[in-house]
């Protein structure tokens, strides 16, 4: 049982990493990775939202939609759940850390449109995850997302100092870096049985 959960965690953090393997949540990955400090803040906020919305979406789906036979409304209701959680997070961040709130700016409400968040909710349904599995899937996915976001931002700080040829400055070299990172993450493929 524990081994199964551990495999799920390793799988979602490294082997099926949301950003580098499944290519979900690329907008904040490219947008908020210019500074390490904001990346850490964004990582924390996304972890909170992703875990909570994954669990809530599970509850809404299995306790509300399935009994009422309204499974076809899953996408809309998941978006609603996510929007609520993001609003809640925004209020918390605004009260606890006004600085982080200002730094994250538009990207905080944009967590709503982070496809990884909706992706987790939908993948939970698709893979028939139980309650604990949904929680771990959301939490692990968020950890994987934060991990690569933070490492990537530290790397981009270094690349921004480098003598990059003009046509490749900024996002272009960021994309290439992300591609090479995805190449490195391919090393993990096959690490856990699918």
């Amino acid at each position: 049982m524990v081994a199964e959960y551990l495999t799920l965690l390793v799988s979602i953090i490294l082997v099926n990493n949301f950003v580098l393997v499944q290519f979900l949540g690329l907008c904040p990955f490219m947008g908020v990775s210019n500074k390490l400090e904001t990346a850490i803040g964004m990582g924390l906020a996304t972890t909170f939202v992703l875990t909570l919305s994954s669990v809530l979406a599970y509850l809404v789906y299995n306790w509300l939609l399935v009994p009422l036979g309204l499974e076809f409304l899953q996408t809309i209701s998941f978006i609603l759940v996510i929007a609520v959680v993001v609003q809640f997070t925004e209020m918390v961040v605004k009260k606890t850390s006004p600085l982080l709130y200002r730094v994250l700016g538009i990207f905080l409400p944009l967590i709503t449109t982070n496809c990884a968040v909706l992706g987790v909710a939908l993948l939970n349904v698709k893979n028939n995850h139980s309650f604990i599995q949904s929680f771990l899937y959301g939490f692990g996915g968020a950890i994987g997302f934060s991990l690569v976001l933070i490492l990537f931002s530290a790397m981009r700080e270094r690349i921004n100092q480098a003598d990059v040829p003009k046509p490749f400055k900024g996002s272009a070299i960021g994309m290439i870096t992300a591609g090479i990172m995805a190449l490195a993450f391919l090393g993990f493929s096959g690490l856990v049985p699918a």
């Binding site: 933070i150 003598d163 990059v164 096959g190």
Partner: protein, 344 residues
């Protein structure tokens, strides 16, 4: 009596990038000789091919970037990258794969990021990973079988044909020792597996000598102060810890001696992980970086699909290196404590 006035500095350092890269290339020579002795001419041909391609692409890309060409060539960094890749790939790899690898290493990994000193990834290992992902068949079936009493080696001319025309050389190629051990360990015991002639009488026929030659070259580099001991020791330490914890029983998983003396462990620990550009910079950082590589090699070898995962381990730790640097800044002179992390 008149004194000649000379301004400082009075002692001139004689170190340069060219000298450093030259020493790295020199340290690779014993291993190249051992590889050629045990596995045939493929390595020499690959090395020549890779070096010429690397210099060619370096010239082209510095022309495009409108930089001084001679300056870029004479620092020997392209030659070093090419040599490392040529020693890491299988000896009968088709010529176009080597060229593609070198192109990727020099143009994409090095010059798009700003050239020598700016590349966040190790060019040779990024190229190796690219080749392994893109051409898995060519990268796993073109390893040479080591020289033994019964097994001869391809002649120089036949090796050329094999590399450039992909002629059929099945009786000279085979899987690597790590591959064979990994795929048979579930069914057979250590004694039964090592009956296979490719393991020879000691550890892994030929490979153990090649690894010792890399070790020799690495010790030379440490003696010449080209590299410090931190990275290689921590890479080998990380691998040792993992293999003692999980591979203590050689009947159920790849034996410890094989982990150290086969595959690219020694090449990686002394020549690749120590790349001054893409590794962590502080001594403490190098220790974290090295242990990470050591642990990851074990993980990839044991639980991953590929027999060896050095390239991926190095790339992943390259990826972590800037972050490690943030948290391992040494204390600056005049300060009580080091300023670490993003709040600095």
């Amino acid at each position: 009596m008149a004194f000649v006035n000379i301004t400082s500095p009075h002692v001139v350092g004689h170190n340069s990038v060219t000298l450093m890269m030259g020493k790295v290339c020199l340290a690779l020579v014993p291993a190249l000789v051992a590889l050629t002795y045990f596995f045939g001419w493929g390595y020499v041909i690959n090395a020549v091919l890779a070096v010429s391609a690397a210099v060619f692409f370096e010239v082209i890309i510095t022309l495009l970037r409108k930089r001084p060409i001679l300056f870029a060539i004479k620092d020997l960094s392209a030659v070093t990258t090419a040599l490392l890749l040529a020693l890491a790939v299988p000896p009968f790899l088709p010529w176009w794969a080597t060229i593609i690898g070198i192109f990727f290493a020099i143009v994409f990994i090095k010059h798009l990021f700003g050239g020598l000193g700016h590349n966040p990834f190790n060019p040779a290992m990024a190229a190796y990973a690219l080749l392994l992902i893109s051409f898995p068949l060519q990268m796993t079936t073109t390893w040479s079988i080591a020289l033994t009493e019964t097994q001869s080696l391809l002649s120089f001319g036949d090796t050329l044909t094999a590399i450039f025309k992909s002629s059929n050389i099945d009786s000279y190629t085979g899987a690597t020792v790590l591959d064979v051990y990994k795929h048979n360990v579930a069914a057979l015991t250590q004694n039964e597996i090592t009956q296979n002639p490719i393991f020879g009488s000691f550890v892994a026929n030929g490979w153990e000598w090649v690894s010792l030659m890399y070790l020799l070259g690495g010790v030379f580099l440490i003696w010449q102060k080209v590299i410090t001991w931190h990275t290689p020791v921590s890479v080998l330490g990380g691998l040792l810890i993992m293999s003692v914890l999980f591979s203590y029983d050689a009947d159920t998983s790849t034996s410890i001696s094989l982990h150290f003396l086969a595959g690219s462990t020694m090449l990686g620990a002394f020549f690749i992980a120590t790349d001054p550009v893409s590794s962590a910079t502080s001594n403490l950082g190098k220790l974290y970086y090295g242990v990470g590589i050591g642990v990851l090699i074990y993980v990839f070898r044991t639980w991953g699909p590929n027999p060896d995962g050095f390239a991926f381990a190095v790339l992943l730790m390259n990826f972590c290196a800037p972050f490690i640097d943030h948290y391992t800044r040494p204390r600056t002179y005049g300060q009580d404590k080091a300023t670490r992390g993003y709040k600095a």
